[in-house]
């Protein structure tokens, strides 16, 4: 079953082609890394897939249903790139995580024990359960991102879409987060990660997709990692620990 099916998708901003004839099919159980330099249309493609960005041409299907008719949104969870920043109203860490469970289908039901237990587990997984009563905007950027990841985990979705999930997260939590993603993938969750940084997750990735720079908005590479050297400009590696593709993946380095 295909989870995401994009056909000839085009997106234009003021006449510029941000995405040009993108064809992309992601099957259940894949772990896909979407790579490319800034401005190559990675986030736009993800937004188009989720219906947040209207298409000029082409079509998107989610779980074998046309986007316009797709209604089972509880199967999808998104970790956005943008952090919440300073809220106008205080919002606690717990309220943010549990908000992932809000859907029109649960409109007439109270938040159940099972939902709360899932949210508690998710918040524990990212190591922020002790901070649950704190205002979200008093946490550091990396911690806020972990809260957003916990919100996505709390939904128990089949498809997890993460836009730059490792940005601003310190080394110790990064290892844990990467292991967590691996665990979810093993349980059958389909993962789509938009990232600059393939190193940390390369051992988990089953398929790498590189969006181009020379011809903006087209797919330059689509296949298993590692990404061929000719596209290496699109993949940023850690400067502080040069990565050799023959050594053990850094994400699993034991502490």
């Amino acid at each position: 079953m295909s989870v995401i099916d994009v056909e000839r998708a085009c997106v234009e901003f003021d006449g510029d082609h941000v995405l040009e004839n993108i064809d992309l099919r992601i099957e259940a159980g894949e772990f896909v890394a979407l790579l490319g330099p800034n401005g190559s249309g990675k986030s736009t493609l993800v937004r188009a897939i989720l219906g947040l960005q209207p298409l000029e041409h082409g079509r998107v299907r989610l779980f074998d249903e046309p986007l316009g008719r797709f209604s089972d949104w509880s199967r999808i969870a998104l970790v956005p790139q943008r952090l919440p920043g300073t809220n106008s109203i205080p919002v606690s860490v717990w309220e943010t995580v549990i908000s992932g469970r809000i859907t029109p289908r649960a409109r007439f039901r109270r938040v159940g024990k099972e939902a709360k237990a899932t949210a508690q587990l998710a918040l524990t997984e990212v190591g922020l359960w002790p901070r649950r009563h704190d205002r979200l905007d008093t946490l550091s950027g990396g911690q806020q991102r972990r809260v957003l990841i916990a919100r996505a985990l709390a939904t128990s979705a089949d498809l997890l879409v993460l836009d730059e999930p490792t940005a601003g997260i310190d080394a110790e939590n990064l290892t844990h987060l990467v292991n967590l993603l691996g665990e979810l993938h093993k349980q059958g969750v389909t993962v789509l990660v938009v990232t600059h940084e393939l190193t940390d997750i390369e051992h988990l990735v089953t398929r790498a997709i590189v969006l181009g720079e020379d011809r903006t908005g087209t797919i330059r590479y689509d296949g298993p990692p590692p990404v061929p050297a000719s596209f290496a400009d699109a993949v940023h590696h850690h400067d502080d620990h040069p990565h050799d593709q023959n050594t053990a993946p850094t994400g699993l380095t034991p502490r």
């Binding site: 947040l52 509880s74 908000s99 809000i102």
Partner: protein, 274 residues
Amino acid sequence: MNLFAYDFMQRALIAAVLVGLIAPLIGVFLVQRRLSLLGDGMGHVALTGVGLAFLLGTAPVPTAMITAVIGAFLIEFIRYRSRTAGDVALALLFYGGIAGGVLFASLAPGKAASSLNAYLFGSLTTVAGADLVALVALCVAVLIVLAVFGRELFAVSLDPEIAQVQGIKVRAMSTLMAVLAAVVVVVGMRVVGLLLVSAIMIVPVAAAQQITRSFISTATLAVALGVFASVAGLTTSFYVEVPPGPTIVLVALGTFAFLALLAVPIRKRRRVLT
């Protein structure tokens, strides 16, 4: 002089408690979405409804209600269609609202223009028995809508895009929000007045968030402060013989100043603890 001895005061007090209760409940969503001035605009539009009621000889509450709800749909439509010029378009609507209100009231026979003042700044004596029934019904309706849609409204106010990916109808919820604000404006029109009614939506929320850490505690404290400001302001207005709108808003601003001062040492201590 016992203020409960007068029927009109009893009715005004009940109306004040109702406004103090529901206005901050809606305001907390407006502040979160950075739409603090939406209530203000709604008040201006409702004024046209009051002017129309004078002119046509209809009852002010339902006429203002219909006008404000039409205004709510218009505001959401404009906000959606014109992202860049949104605030200018809203400003046009607001000015049109207040100009229309004064114009219609002036055209109306009798002393309608002078009684417009009671609608602008509130009045102790204008809450009629029939009004009270309508106000209670509107408040109950608002509470039921919040009980059903409150969580979705919360999700939209946190992040509209995430809410959409959760399957929530963001545009419908935004329109619902505007309609709820319109209802609050009409409920508060009699006692607080149309020019100041949005203050009772916003100021208690701004005061509460000085010391709270979560959305739900902000909403709870804001309701307590809203009811306190309404009742205290109304009582003051009875003894000092001024319109109740300004006194209610000044009491609310007083709670804001008090909590803002109180928050300074609390924040310092929290910083030491974390």
